[in-house]
């Protein structure tokens, strides 16, 4: 919690008019400014920003209302004003309005000498500021021969040399070329680092958005709105009222969110660089350069990630078999196992006292074993939520490895679909034309679920009109399947799981005795039903495909 001590400047109900009472440039303006903050003053031309700045330095005295500096009311006596002006500096928008001397050196020395310091000290300060603001190359030129950017540098030096607590910059980048704008911005950053409170009037929404701690939106002599840049620039109505536009970063981010390219739940990007990294991250990059440099010999490992199963019988012929094949393909690599289902891990622990690593635990183990490069191969069927979470977990260790590569889940490319179909067909060589093979996938609410319907379509397209694919939890559901299978009029329905393991779902939801099981439902519909309890992991073609994915990831 900030205390009142932090408030360096406070305005209370200021009224100021240039022409008697006809119109007010400041119209009941109240605001508070905290020490060390970067504050952007924005608003239409004539909204009172410059008038307020002149009030801050006591050039204008508000007709009513009070200004407080460090909690004390500003005194308009000669001494009071000199004291205020020695601590609040203002850089005017037009340098020609500020530079009164023809010599750069004389010009800069003016302010500091007015503070009453000795000539020697003034000389040192002037030299110092000339050097830090890179004025040296043109220090001997007369001010009227300087370019706009150089004049601006000198006018900032004018003020900086006085070491004020607050610096007011009235549109410092107006009419400057990009190089000088960047230079001025850099000078401003330096001021903030030195603890100077910077008040800047600007029309550059993009700069204000990424630079400011707080944005004050002026409108008709009052603060229409103030807050963090995201708050202010998120308010379309306030922006419209003050003739401002949204920063390009926000505009682009919003548009990308609307198009579903970026998640709206991401924190608002502060600058284009952040937005760029958001966009770069959505690319499904299988290979991640780690952040650790490679200085010892490489030591590679495979991390096989499965959902897991509590049925030991199926595990031996599926997960174990897949991992064996991987190990055979890469005999030099150490192979680690990780499961993503915490429930199953817990169950195994309590039932058999067997501990299987979670992804994080496995990564910690890999790290402890001094591995430098990791190739992760999931046995997931689709690029669903399980796969995304697994990637996130693995990548949280990115700093510790030289490289991390990800093999694709089973069904990723079109080629994968064709190979899976081939593997399924090979597994059921005796399937007759009049028999229907119904495969049970898991299904998910993730958009990747569409692959099931697509694969069902592809089966038909490749001439296997008697192979149907459905899911337990999503579309195509049992209802859809039943309709299609009925239309086919098969003599017999053969049920098989379309999951890596033939575990709970296969044993209960598919082949169980429960009236809701697929077996019971097909039987009730009058079909002859046969259940083949064989997980995809048992199909040699499937295992081959997973190993191929692993090889592809390793060669990246």
């Amino acid at each position: 919690m900030r205390t009142n001590d932090d408030i360096i400047l406070k305005a209370e109900d200021l009224y100021f008019s240039y022409d008697g009472e006809a119109s007010h440039s400041l119209n009941g303006l109240s605001l508070e400014i905290r020490r060390g903050q970067k504050i952007a003053f924005m608003g239409a031309n004539g909204s009172g920003k410059s008038t307020f700045f002149l009030c801050c330095t006591g050039i204008h005295k508000p007709q009513s209302g009070t200004l407080y500096f460090h909690g004390k009311e500003i005194s308009y006596t000669k001494k009071g004003l000199l004291d205020l002006r020695s601590r609040v500096g203002i850089v005017f928008q037009d340098p020609d309005r500020q530079l009164f001397s023809a010599s750069v050196y004389q010009e800069i020395s003016f302010g500091i000498l007015n503070l009453g310091v000795s000539e020697d000290e003034a000389r040192r300060e002037v030299e110092h500021v000339i050097e830090t603001l890179e004025i040296t190359p043109f220090r001997h030129k007369p001010t009227h021969a300087l370019s706009g950017g150089q004049k601006k540098q000198v006018s900032i030096a004018d003020i900086l040399v006085m070491h004020p607590e607050i610096i007011i910059l009235d549109e410092p980048a107006a009419a400057l070329d990009p190089k000088h704008t960047a230079m001025v911005n850099q000078i401003v950053d330096q001021m903030t680092e030195n603890g100077i409170t910077v008040l800047m009037a600007t029309h550059d929404v993009n700069y204000a958005y990424q630079w400011a701690d707080e944005v004050m939106l002026f409108h008709e002599g009052k603060v229409l709105m103030h807050g963090t840049p995201s708050q202010v620039f998120g308010n379309q109505a306030a922006l419209h009222a003050t003739n401002l536009e949204k920063p390009a970063v926000l505009e682009l981010f919003e548009s990308l969110c609307k198009k579903g390219i970026l998640k709206a739940s991401l924190p608002l990007p502060k600058d284009l660089h952040t937005l760029e990294s958001y966009i770069a991250d959505i690319k499904t990059n299988p290979h991640y350069g780690g952040k650790k440099t490679l200085f010892t010999e490489t030591k590679k490992a495979i991390l096989a990630v499965s959902f897991g199963t509590s049925h030991n019988d199926t595990r031996e012929v599926t997960i174990d078999a897949i991992e064996r094949d991987m190990q055979n393909a890469f005999p030099d690599y150490k192979l680690y196992r990780a499961w993503t289902s915490k429930m199953i891990i817990k169950k195994l622990k309590s039932r058999d006292n067997i501990h299987v690593h979670t992804v994080k635990e496995a990564m910690e183990q890999i790290l402890a074993d001094g591995i430098t490069d990791v190739v992760v191969q999931p046995t997931h069927v689709i690029n669903g939520i399980e796969n995304d979470l697994m990637k996130e977990d693995v990548l949280s260790f990115r700093e510790n490895f030289h490289s991390i590569s990800f093999g694709a889940p089973l069904l990723t490319s079109e080629q994968d679909s064709l190979q899976v179909i081939q593997a399924v067909v090979e597994e059921f060589p005796d399937l007759k034309q009049e028999e229907a093979l119904v495969l049970m996938g898991h299904g998910t609410t993730h958009y990747a679920n569409s692959i099931y319907a697509a694969l069902d379509y592809t089966f038909k397209d490749k001439g296997h009109k008697n192979i149907f694919l459905g899911t337990v939890e999503a579309y195509p559901s049992m209802e859809t399947l039943m309709k299609m299978v009925k239309d086919y009029h098969p003599s017999k329905v053969i049920l098989a799981p379309f999951m890596i393991v033939a575990g709970d779902h296969a044993k209960n939801d598919m082949a169980g005795d429960d009236p809701d099981s697929w077996y019971s439902q097909f039987a009730a519909a009058g079909f002859e039903v046969e259940a083949a309890l064989k997980g995809l992991g048992e199909y040699p073609g499937i295992r081959r495909l997973l190993v191929e994915h692993l090889k592809a990831a390793d060669s990246e």
């Binding site: 000199l82 005017f92 020609d96 309005r97 010599s103 050196y105 020395s109 003016f110 003020i159």
Partner: protein, 258 residues
């Protein structure tokens, strides 16, 4: 940027101590005016010319061009001294006009020549100063000479303002030209009048703004500024003393002993 201003900022003598240059120019000027001698004027003219052109690096053509500026004026005014209209012809030449003569004596011719040369050499001394010394440096010398502060501050501000207003005027003039503001004599006159009036208003508002900006930097009525002084060089001082003493002695000799 005005030409003289540009030349002095580019002069090779710019970074010499301003007091030295000022002293040289002023003393020489003084001796030159005092001596009223053609020979002294010629010496001064050539020395300052050599210094400004060879040492300072100002192009000869430019320097000569600048010298001709006062020359026309000088010729016109000395013509009156040199020419007489008399009934009797004088010893130099005489052109009869009816029963009168447009005539001149050798003495008045030499007197006119001496006036022109003295004036020119005096101007050349000032050119030397202004072609080698930027205005702020000259002001610093004046300050050392205890010139009233008010005058110096005025000169400082006026000098700066000349350029600000020139820039403004040239911008207005350009924009007038762009809109055919100087299409013919009539429009040109009108445009020039408008330029003058707006420049006046601008000047007033500019000076108000400048005053505000100076106040914001704790201005309290006195302009305090630092100047970068170049160290005095003993060799240069010695040379100046030597030259001016010699010139002084020479002029005394010319005046009283010849």
């Amino acid at each position: 940027m005005m030409i003289i201003d540009k030349l002095c900022y580019n002069s090779r003598l710019r970074y010499e101590n301003a007091s030295e240059k000022f002293a040289f120019a002023m003393i020489t000027l003084f001796i030159c005016v005092m001596s009223r001698s053609i020979a002294v004027a010629c010496i001064v003219l050539s020395v300052t010319g050599i210094l400004t052109v060879c040492k300072g690096g100002i192009p000869v053509s430019r320097y000569l061009h600048f010298l001709t500026v006062p020359l026309a004026f000088l010729l016109m005014s000395t013509l009156a001294i040199m020419l007489h209209i008399r009934r009797t012809p004088m010893d130099f030449f005489a052109v009869p006009i009816g029963s009168w003569y447009l005539t001149s004596s050798v003495h008045s011719f030499l007197y006119a020549l001496q006036l022109i040369l003295t004036a020119l050499s005096a101007v050349s001394c000032l050119y030397f100063l202004s072609f080698t010394t930027p205005m702020p440096d000259i002001l610093e010398v004046l300050r050392k000479l205890r010139c009233p502060k008010l005058l110096i501050e005025l000169m400082l501000l006026i000098y700066r303002f000349i350029f600000v207003l020139l820039e403004t005027a040239s911008a207005i003039r350009t924009s007038q030209d762009c809109r055919l503001g100087n299409r013919d004599y009539k429009t040109a006159l009108k445009s020039f009048g408008m330029l003058g009036s707006i420049l006046m208003i601008r000047a007033v508002s500019r000076s108000n703004q400048l005053y505000d900006a100076m106040e914001a930097r704790c201005y309290d009525g006195t302009i305090r500024i630092l100047s970068e002084n170049r160290p005095l060089k003993k060799k240069v001082i010695a040379a100046i003393i030597l030259f001016d003493t010699a010139l002084f002695v020479f002029s005394l000799w010319r005046r009283f002993f010849l």
